[in-house]
């Protein structure tokens, strides 16, 4: 029919300005829409952006006539190259962007939030960064954190080494929040450095005015100038914007799917707090006050030779699995892993670190095949203790190692690291001992 013809004959692209007239119906005259063609997921609908700014979708079958008024340009994000002069008084901070919400843009094609920001874009969006440090931006990858792979952790570690060797006084890593604590743990094991390495994310996309991205970036950059050693995660400390927390990379976990303060130190307290809204009384400008909750001198101690400043070891045994225990779990899954050539399994047991008898056979099989089996707890908070109940005693007899108060995710990464770098016996011995701050000696009473 005529409408189909006119649609097929008229070649319209995204961005074109068109005038669409609908077919008249029995009880209704036709109407006219004018606007620029926008991407639409549905084949049978044309979506236009009208001059009011609104989008409206019209079914193709209802269109009587479509007129092309002018060809348009596809809307795109304007990119500007930054020219920034170095300030000798400021420290040099390198922002490494890996993607994620903190570095995200809306994808107008699929309508979803996708990582597309480069580190330069981040600086443009948060110009305050330039008053804190000399910023150099580097977009090393562009992936959502659920797509992270252990091999990407290695890449990030290599970039860190390079940046520090090039004179960076601190590293900020923009990262998706979903798996940020895995990456933080991996870097803590793989990188030994006297400069701070701070992972930062955002829970609300940076294309919205209420995003937590800007404040998190400001706070992490400021902490990166503080001369700390080790790997940290910086995120909001509450769901307002009043303060941010700096967490130890091996002790932090994402504990909420959407809140700004999703990240909490588990079995530990945050090491520092930054007040994001307090103002200097004289200048009336925000002063971003830092309050250390842990021993500041200890945090600022050199952990390797001062002249070297950075040292990395990126060897990982990736054939390690993390398995959550549940009522009714049976031994098949462990046998499967063992037969597939896995080298280690971290169990997320119940309570103090238990697994049902139905799993015993599988555990014995895995251990007999030479796998390292370690126990964490799915209660998230608290320490594993396999001496209290007979079940735990039984597991220890089989050779299951207690991970103490280590996060399950951290234990997984640690096992990958140990199995790649140590003889089995030594790896097994180190699994339950603190090597990088992942296990604490005593259980703190007050948690945040």
């Amino acid at each position: 029919m005529s409408n189909n013809n006119c649609l097929e004959n008229l070649k319209t692209d995204i961005g074109d300005l068109v005038e669409i007239t609908t077919k008249a119906e029995a009880d209704k005259s036709s109407t006219t829409y004018k606007g620029n063609i926008m991407p639409c997921l549905k084949e049978d609908v044309i979506m236009i952006k009208m001059s009011s700014g609104y989008n409206a979708g019209i079914k193709k079958e209802k269109i009587e006539e479509i007129k092309l008024l002018s060809k348009g340009e596809t809307p795109k994000h304007v990119k500007t190259d930054l020219e920034i002069n170095k300030d000798k008084k400021l420290k040099n901070i390198s922002i490494i962007s890996t993607g994620g919400t903190v570095a995200s843009r809306v994808d107008y094609k699929t309508g979803a939030v996708h990582p597309a920001f480069t580190a330069d874009d981040l600086i443009m969006a948060v110009p305050e960064l330039l008053t804190i440090a000399n910023i150099s931006g580097k977009a090393v990858m562009n992936i959502l954190s659920e797509n992270m792979l252990p091999t990407y952790w290695k890449e990030v570690a290599e970039h860190i080494e390079q940046e520090v060797k090039n004179g960076a006084d601190g590293i900020v890593i923009a990262h998706g929040t979903d798996t940020m604590h895995y990456t933080a743990s991996a870097l803590q094991f793989m990188v030994k450095s006297n400069v701070p390495i701070i992972l930062v994310g955002a829970q609300r996309s940076s294309d919205r005015p209420s995003s937590d991205a800007a404040l998190n970036l400001i706070a992490s950059t400021k902490f990166a100038t503080e001369g700390l050693s080790g790997v940290y995660v910086l995120m909001h400390g509450e769901n307002g914007d009043e303060y941010c927390y700096l967490h130890e990379g091996v002790k932090v976990r994402k504990l909420h799917s959407s809140r700004r303060d999703a990240f909490k130190s588990v079995n530990a307290q945050p090491v520092a707090k930054m007040n994001m809204l307090s103002k200097n009384k004289k200048t009336n400008e925000k002063d971003y006050k830092i309050e250390y909750l842990a021993d500041e001198r200890k945090l600022k101690q050199n952990i390797i030779d001062k002249n070297l400043n950075v040292q990395i070891n990126t060897k990982l045994e990736e054939r390690v699995a993390l398995l959550k225990i549940y009522p009714g779990i049976n031994s098949d899954i462990l046998k499967y892993y063992a037969d597939k050539g896995y080298k280690g399994i971290v169990l997320e047991g119940t309570g103090l670190g238990h697994a049902p008898e139905t799993l015993f056979e599988g555990i014995k099989y895995a251990i007999s095949k030479g796998l390292l089996v370690a126990m964490t707890t799915q209660t998230i908070n608290g320490r594993v203790n396999m001496n209290v109940y007979s079940n735990g005693v039984e597991l220890q007899k089989m050779g299951v190692i207690s991970c103490e108060d280590m996060n399950a995710e951290t234990a997984l990464v640690k096992m990958m690291y140990l199995l790649a770098n140590y003889e089995f016996k030594e790896a097994k011995d180190l699994m339950g001992k603190n090597i990088a701050g992942e296990i604490t000696e005593f259980s703190v009473i007050d948690l945040n």
């Binding site: 409206a56 809307p75 809306v106």
Partner: protein, 644 residues
């Protein structure tokens, strides 16, 4: 034309007045538009609060919106109060939104159909940038539902441009120096936004069109009622003027005055522009033209300046060549060009007030100081130059005067700047912000598009609510109301209550209607808080009337009783008021006794004593017995005595 006379006889046709309306109506849905919280406004103590900041972000076209930038310059923090049991993380922008409330979409399409509009096939939720903090996210979610409709008024048709369904913003609790406090209870309540074409040509027509749309909204039964549930914005222009958007007209009666005053304002600003051009007036914009004159006011007696200097403030001045005498010229009743300047200074610079040489010496500023200021600034009397000063913190003073320079420049170059203005209670308007541009919308990516099927629309079309006109006819026929009362009832907020009562009780509907409409208003005028009257009060009242427990003369007192004791039942009220109805027997007894007491009069006047005795009877029996019964009994008793 004289400066102060604003009582112009305006010929709106000649002026080319064009007015369009934008009406926002809250919907009384069971849940909010994008979460499952109730649409409940509260005034009890909030359970908690959080403090946030907002930053402008780039839109999909890569531009930053002008209006959004001005807000960000003010660098305020925002505090959001919340209630644990009626708010959730969605309102705090700490959780992605849920799909839109179906009841809201249904009502939007229903109203569209009532106004003969075209509904789109696929609705996309948009984010409209509003970073004055009134939305926790920094944007308002809004959906374009339909376009191209029509309503009829007594003065002619008005075309309806569009209907949008959007979320209401936070309720502003108060404004502080460095922060604004909001409450999220209102955030997310569904709002219908109806925009008309500028087809309105007189103030009266504006009011009539707004009333029409209000009637249609109420016909859905989903319109929230009460103060603040409907807000009207008015777009006004005259032929040689500019488009001005007036925000937040809460009262229907104010619309006429707002339109008239804005027309006057545009005429006056044009006159000023003409005069400025004749005078060769000149304004140099930019902060380099803002001069520090603190030195001149070192020993001033002006309290305002002294206190500013004490707080380490400065005095800054600007020169406006050719503005002398015009800054004090009235553009609206009691508002001058100078008021327009200080509005800008207040909104953009956050300074309380500015002084211009048209009003000086005054406020403790001496003639000597004015002379020194004029000389220092190079103000020339021949070229009629004026000077404006501000005393405040340096950054604020500079920002404010920069904004005044811009506004003064506009007074010469464009006369009437296009802007958004705020409706004031006296029918005037004040500057709010520049007109927003189209760049402030981008898609809400957290919510999939909503298809509107033909079946959905058709189902609504076949079940449209009864419109007031049909209802009027039905009320006259079904309830035997007279035309005036029926009309009143149809327009009443209590129309549903009326129908329910009229159907439930065997009481004359006219009595029910006059009680709900007239009697209630009467007792409000006497100072009774009729907000306290609830449906159940009326149910109890008419039940008692139905079974003769209460006479209709007692209605006023019973209602007053309910206002005074909202939690008491009707029996208690009758007891308190001494209104318990007497049995017929007791009534006869009482009347007989009254006749006996006045037997001398009866003997003398015969039936002529009726009037006097009726007065006596009513004094004793009002509210305890039906007036008709009293009348009849008295007449019968009298007759029997007289006939003897």
């Amino acid at each position: 034309m004289s400066n102060s006379d604003l009582n112009l006889n305006l010929d709106y046709k000649e002026l080319g007045l064009k007015v369009g309306l934008e009406i926002h109506q809250q919907l009384n849905t069971s849940r909010k538009l994008f979460c499952n919280c109730p649409t409940k406004i509260r005034d009890d103590e909030p359970h908690g609060e959080i403090e946030r900041v907002l930053r402008p972000s780039q839109s999909e076209m890569g531009q930053i919106d002008k209006a959004a930038l001005i807000e960000s310059k003010k660098e305020k923090n925002y505090v959001y109060q919340y209630y644990n049991d009626t708010n959730c993380l969605v309102e705090l922008d700490d959780e992605p939104p849920q799909g839109p409330c179906e009841e809201g979409v249904y009502t939007a399409v229903e109203v569209s159909e009532l106004m003969d509009m075209h509904v789109v096939d696929e609705v996309q939720v948009m984010r409209k940038m509003v970073i004055d903090g009134s939305n926790t996210s920094g944007f308002q979610r809004t959906m374009f539902i339909s376009q191209d409709g029509n309503i009829e008024t007594d003065y002619g048709d008005v075309r309806i441009t569009s209907l949008c369904l959007e979320e209401d913003a936070c309720k502003k609790v108060r404004d502080e120096k460095d922060k604004v406090i909001y409450c999220v209870d209102r955030l997310g309540i569904p709002l219908l936004e109806i925009t008309t074409e500028p087809d309105i040509t007189t103030p009266e027509m504006g009011k009539e069109a707004a009333r029409r749309i209000g009637t249609i909204l109420r016909a859905t039964g989903k319109a929230k009622r009460g103060l603040g549930t409907i807000r009207q914005d008015v777009n006004i222009s005259i032929k040689e003027g500019a488009r001005i958007e007036v925000k937040g007209v809460q009262n229907l009666d104010l619309i006429e005055q707002i339109i008239k005053n804005e027309a006057i304002r545009q005429i006056k600003l044009n006159e000023i522009k003409k005069e400025l051009i004749e005078r060769n007036a000149e304004v140099k914009t930019g902060t380099q033209n803002i001069v520090d004159v603190t030195e001149l006011f070192k020993n001033t007696e002006s309290k305002v300046i002294k206190s500013a200097l004490k707080k380490k403030g400065v005095v800054k001045a600007i020169l406006l060549k050719g503005f002398d005498g015009l800054i004090g010229k009235e553009v609206q009743p009691n508002r001058r060009l100078g008021t327009e300047f200080s509005d800008r200074g207040k909104v953009i610079g956050g300074v309380g007030g500015l002084f211009h040489t048209d009003e000086l010496p005054k406020y403790g500023i001496t003639q000597e100081e004015v002379d020194a200021l004029k000389e220092f600034m190079g103000a020339n009397a021949e070229t009629k130059d004026a000077v404006i000063i501000v005393a405040d913190r340096e950054s604020k003073a500079v920002r404010a005067l920069g904004a005044v320079l811009d506004r003064a420049y506009e007074a010469i170059t464009i006369g009437i700047p296009e802007e958004t203005r705020k409706a004031l209670e006296d029918g005037n308007t004040s500057y709010l912000r520049p007109l927003p541009g189209a760049a402030r919308m981008y898609p809400e990516t957290d919510i999939p598009n909503i298809p509107i099927s033909d079946e959905f629309v058709e189902n609504i079309r076949n079940n449209l609510p009864e419109m007031p006109k049909e209802k009027l006819e039905r009320f006259i026929k079904e309830y035997d109301l007279n035309n005036d009362l029926a009309k009143q009832m149809v327009m009443s907020y209590h129309v549903d209550l009326f129908e329910e009562l009229a159907k439930t009780f065997k009481v004359k509907p006219t009595l029910i209607a006059t009680t709900i409409e007239a009697t209630v208003k009467e007792i409000r005028r006497e100072g009774f808080n009729i907000e306290l009257l609830k449906e159940e009060h009326f149910e109890q009242l008419f039940e008692c009337i139905e079974n003769g427990k209460v006479s209709k003369e007692a209605i006023v007192d019973v209602l007053k009783g309910f206002v005074e004791n909202p939690y008491a039942n009707v029996d208690k009220i009758l007891e308190i008021k001494g209104l318990s109805a007497m049995s017929e027997e007791d009534v006869v007894k009482e009347i007989k006794s009254i006749i006996k007491q006045n037997i001398a009069v009866v003997n003398e006047k015969g039936m002529g004593a009726m009037g006097l005795l009726m007065g006596r009877c009513m004094a004793n029996l009002r509210g305890k017995a039906d007036g008709k019964l009293i009348n009849k009994t008295l007449q019968d008793e009298l007759k029997s005595i007289v006939n003897k």
